[in-house]
């Protein structure tokens, strides 16, 4: 287990060392602060547009950072020829796969937490009235989203180059987030039942429009889906990695 956390820790350090997160944060902050300062016909406390824009930015940057980090892990190790060195250490391949996944998730979650905290601060400063409980649920649901996303990006990195893995992960994410509920009618049951339903974890509308939180049984279903679904790409990645010569 220590080996898993040791690998994961490297990824968390990497996301903050590479400065990608800072660039994303800065860009998001500039747009959010500018948007927060806008005035609409002298009406006060108009905030839903800001909540919507802010959440979209926070989600977008978190997804890109997490997917990019997950997708580049194994190809980068291969390219730098550090994989044999890593595997020469007392670490099982399954631990390596789990560590890479966990690190991707934790790094993405750390960046997301930073972005989300800033967003809530700006929204509150603007005079936004929103439920703290729903804001908390939106946060937790997106963590589950990142869990699945990290598993997909990490799993694909054993099969694809980093750019192909990133492209495919982001494509699937936006496809499912936009068309997920209607995919059965549009693309048939196979894709509908096999692709990850990221839209489950998007509670933006509930927060923006004050719909309130989710019931406990729905939370249980979402958590079960996230944890079980994540096993699929990770198992495939582990299977592929086990057959590979370092």
């Amino acid at each position: 287990m220590n080996a898993v956390f040791a690998v994961a820790r490297l990824l968390v350090l990497e996301i903050f060392r590479k400065k990608d997160a800072y660039v994303a944060f800065l860009l998001m902050a500039v747009i959010l602060v500018y948007a927060a300062g806008m005035d609409f016909y002298d009406e006060r406390n108009v905030v839903r547009y800001l909540l919507e824009l802010g959440l979209s930015l926070v989600f977008f940057f978190s997804v890109i950072l997490t997917a990019a980090l997950g997708a580049r892990q194994v190809p980068a190790e291969r390219e730098a020829r550090t994989l044999p060195v890593l595997l020469a250490k007392p670490i099982r391949r399954s631990e390596f796969v789990a560590g890479k996944f966990l690190g991707t998730f934790l790094a993405g979650a750390a960046a997301f937490t930073l972005f989300y905290g800033f967003f809530l601060g700006v929204a509150s400063f603007k005079g936004g009235v929103f439920s703290a409980a729903t804001a908390g649920e939106t946060y937790l649901a997106f963590l589950l989203n990142l869990w699945v996303l990290a598993a997909v990006a990490s799993g694909l990195s054993y099969f694809l180059t980093s750019s192909a893995g990133l492209t495919l992960t982001v494509l699937v994410y936006f496809l499912m987030n936009t068309y997920g509920p209607a995919l059965k009618a549009k693309a048939g049951p196979f894709l509908y039942f096999t692709l990850p339903h990221f839209e489950f974890f998007d509670l933006r509308q509930r927060l923006v429009h004050g719909w309130g939180g989710l019931p406990g049984d729905v939370w249980a279903a979402l958590a079960a889906y996230a944890f079980l679904y994540a096993l699929v790409p990770l198992s495939l990645g582990a299977w592929r990695f086990a057959r590979e010569n370092a």
Partner: protein
């Protein structure tokens, strides 16, 4: 890093679009001498219109509490369960649909009094990004005037809409109505002439033409030009059928009776 740079560039573009669209409508005022819409158009071209149209639809989405109203298959004013994309509520056929329904569906409601202002950013942006969208101009002006009691802002939107849409007769019609309420008769006369000129040869609805002729006549009457007013009243009456009855018709007829001897 390359990916982030690309994403950042895309977002910069989107952010510039959002910002330059003139969320702060005062930035684009004639006093500043700077037209943000023009700068934006040069930046992202025709895509602004698509974004503007989307934002206009978004305002309606907001009005219905974050769900899409289904006007075709349902009475949209009825409270009921619709999902965030407005899909109708047939019973879910699988567990994914069932779970999605629980997460993303919500009862349809209309925004309450103070919440309606949340639509303003989308109206402001929709008109700014797609000034040729006559429906967006008219709807924005309607909400500003009727719901938010901001007739001056509504008039600004309509004035700009008139300049941007020289073929639209509906915009001067609405502006004439607004000025008529303000009793700005000189403006009403000018706007009615403009609207009637633009409506010529178009499929304008009869009741709009009656309104225009009536406001025109009333303004001419108020401006002390009875002969022209009488002619306009008679034009308005000409739109009614022989047996047709309405309060407005009675009012116009009374005016004609009142003015006819004077004009003779």
């Amino acid at each position: 890093m390359k990916t982030i740079a690309l994403g950042a560039a895309a977002l910069c573009l989107a952010g510039s679009a959002f910002a330059a669209a003139g969320l702060d409508s005062r930035l684009a005022s004639p006093e500043t001498g700077f037209t943000l819409g023009g700068s934006l158009y040069r930046l992202i071209g025709g895509a602004t219109e698509a974004v503007g149209d989307t934002l206009f639809l978004k305002a309606e989405f907001y009005y219905h509490g974050g769900v899409s109203a289904d006007y075709e298959n349902d009475d949209h004013s009825r409270e009921g369960l619709v999902d965030a994309r407005g899909a109708r509520r047939a019973e879910p056929t699988d567990w994914i649909e069932r779970l999605n329904r629980r997460v993303r569906a919500h009862a349809h409601y209309h925004l309450k009094r103070d919440e309606k202002k949340e639509m303003l950013p989308f109206f402001a942006l929709a008109v700014r990004l797609d000034p040729k969208n006559v429906e967006a101009v008219l709807t924005s002006a309607y909400w500003l005037d009727r719901e938010f009691k901001k007739p001056r802002d509504a008039a600004d939107v309509l004035e700009k809409g008139m300049r941007d849409n020289p073929g639209s007769w509906e915009i001067p019609l609405r502006l004439a109505e607004l000025r008529f309420r303000e009793k700005n008769h000189a403006a009403v006369e000018r706007l009615c002439r403009e609207a009637l000129g633009r409506a010529a040869g178009k499929d304008a609805e009869r009741h709009h033409l009656i309104d225009l002729h009536f406001w025109f006549a009333e303004s001419l009457h108020a401006l002390g030009r009875p002969a022209e007013a009488l002619s306009a009243y008679r034009s308005a009456l000409g739109f009614y059928g022989d047996e047709e009855k309405s309060l407005l018709r009675d009012r116009i007829s009374a005016r004609v009776t009142e003015l006819a001897p004077a004009a003779v």
